[in-house]
Symmetry: C2
Subunit: 315 residues, 2 copies
Amino acid sequence: MESDTLSDPLANLITNYHELNGSTVDELPAVPSALEFMRYVARNRPFVVRGGAKHWPACRKWNATYLRKVIGDSTVKVANTPLGNADAIVEQNEGSLLFVEPHETDEPFEDFLGYVQEDSTFPEDRLQDRHVKYAQTQNGNLPTEYPSLLADVPPDVPFATEALQQPPDAQNFWLGNHRSTTALHKDNYENIYVQIIGQKHFVLLPPVEVACANEQPVTRARYVPASGETGKLVIDVDEVAEAVPTPTWDPDEPNVRATAYSELSRPLRVTFEAGDMFYLPAMWYHKVSQSNGPEGFAVAVNYWYDMSFDGGFWT
Amino acid sequence: MESDTLSDPLANLITNYHELNGSTVDELPAVPSALEFMRYVARNRPFVVRGGAKHWPACRKWNATYLRKVIGDSTVKVANTPLGNADAIVEQNEGSLLFVEPHETDEPFEDFLGYVQEDSTFPEDRLQDRHVKYAQTQNGNLPTEYPSLLADVPPDVPFATEALQQPPDAQNFWLGNHRSTTALHKDNYENIYVQIIGQKHFVLLPPVEVACANEQPVTRARYVPASGETGKLVIDVDEVAEAVPTPTWDPDEPNVRATAYSELSRPLRVTFEAGDMFYLPAMWYHKVSQSNGPEGFAVAVNYWYDMSFDGGFWT
């Protein structure tokens, strides 16, 4: 592969991209102006503002006691997976791949939060049969499922709303713990991501690395409760749904399902702390894991803005 | 071709681009802010501000008398071509292609301007043996060759300088007449183009139409005076220079040197009048012809800003 780089336009493209772009995520000294933000959108490059949201009421007020108080036993949607592999590729014994969505349950918030926190009290070897819960609905769940938290976060990100000339399309709330990892994927949204409690660890690939990510049509499936075995989840294949192109390469297991181009990938790795504000440009691949805050869970909020599909970039 | 569009990713790309983007150049009601400009840079889309430069001293003051007065007999660089085909593809009798640069001469400005104006006094059939002159050096010639005009135009375009965080790389002066046409080409600059006298007619193709433009390595050549025949220009092939990738398709002769994709091209055609300000995004193909103002010539000024080569767009 290496010796072919010069003659292979795709390899050249990836290599040139890395030569022209930094190998780290830019750190801005303060929340950007709309113009400063638009320069990043134009270049489709990420940035982080360390502490950029630390003055948000959410960053000052949210903890287990406060969340229990204001959300109480309201019903929230919870993603259940056996191993924390939410929306992930699962390789079957015979080698075929499935994209498995979580088993979704409606639970009183207090019960859900308690379960998430209790994970930290188990020794590692006793966790294996205890499935993983994660609030991660990504459908604008903050105003619909968590309306009592709305007062603690701004309704939009002003610099992004001004630059992109639109309000956010969705405002999402994420609560989980160290056991959940979101597999490598991309979204067709401009994403402003704010860590509130704990840490999130992002692995990032620019869109030019599409040839590294080994996108393949993968059959859809879903975890469902095993009949007769309480708490056990099994995979239910969706025989009807069309297979959807899905990245099948994992930058943390670079030799598994690699393409000839995967070794050219230069993943950016960045950790966000409570109060950090992150711009994840549209169509960037990202894999996300998390570390708990002091009370055994992590919380984030994000704002999705519709990306521009005109111009040339979306290609 | 048409029936293959669905299965051919490149044809799909071009067709989708046209579906998602307008078929005209946006007209802005006023000179944009830096942020408004940056949105166009981000989308790599052109716009025109009709009359956006009409308050410039150049637009009020420049005419043949004024230019003669302030430039006088200063030496300027003039491009000479037999047919007005400056920097153009020339097909040889045997079918091979050459990219022929003009014969460049140093001339007193007054003589040059007189020659350009006199073209309008000749009947068409007597012009054929009279070669065409065009001031079009494109190397930042305004400050170097026309310093006496600098006071009449702003040193930069403030919204572009603010947005792109840099002064212009070059400020160019163009003076020619209806006989000169610049062949389809692209520049790796963000271009702010201001018409001062007469009209310019642009034919524009977005970068996604690269497959329509039929870029091929073409041998370099140059017009040189024929020995012993005053005023006659002949082609001198540069046997040493490497052939350079050059668009060989002409949207005004769509059936000549067309590729399988050329019929998918949807050229934008737009005419700029005196006082109009135009943003030509980096890497857009453009072919430019002109119409004379009231005194038999056309003048334009443009500002080239270095494009951003980082981010993903340059690909």
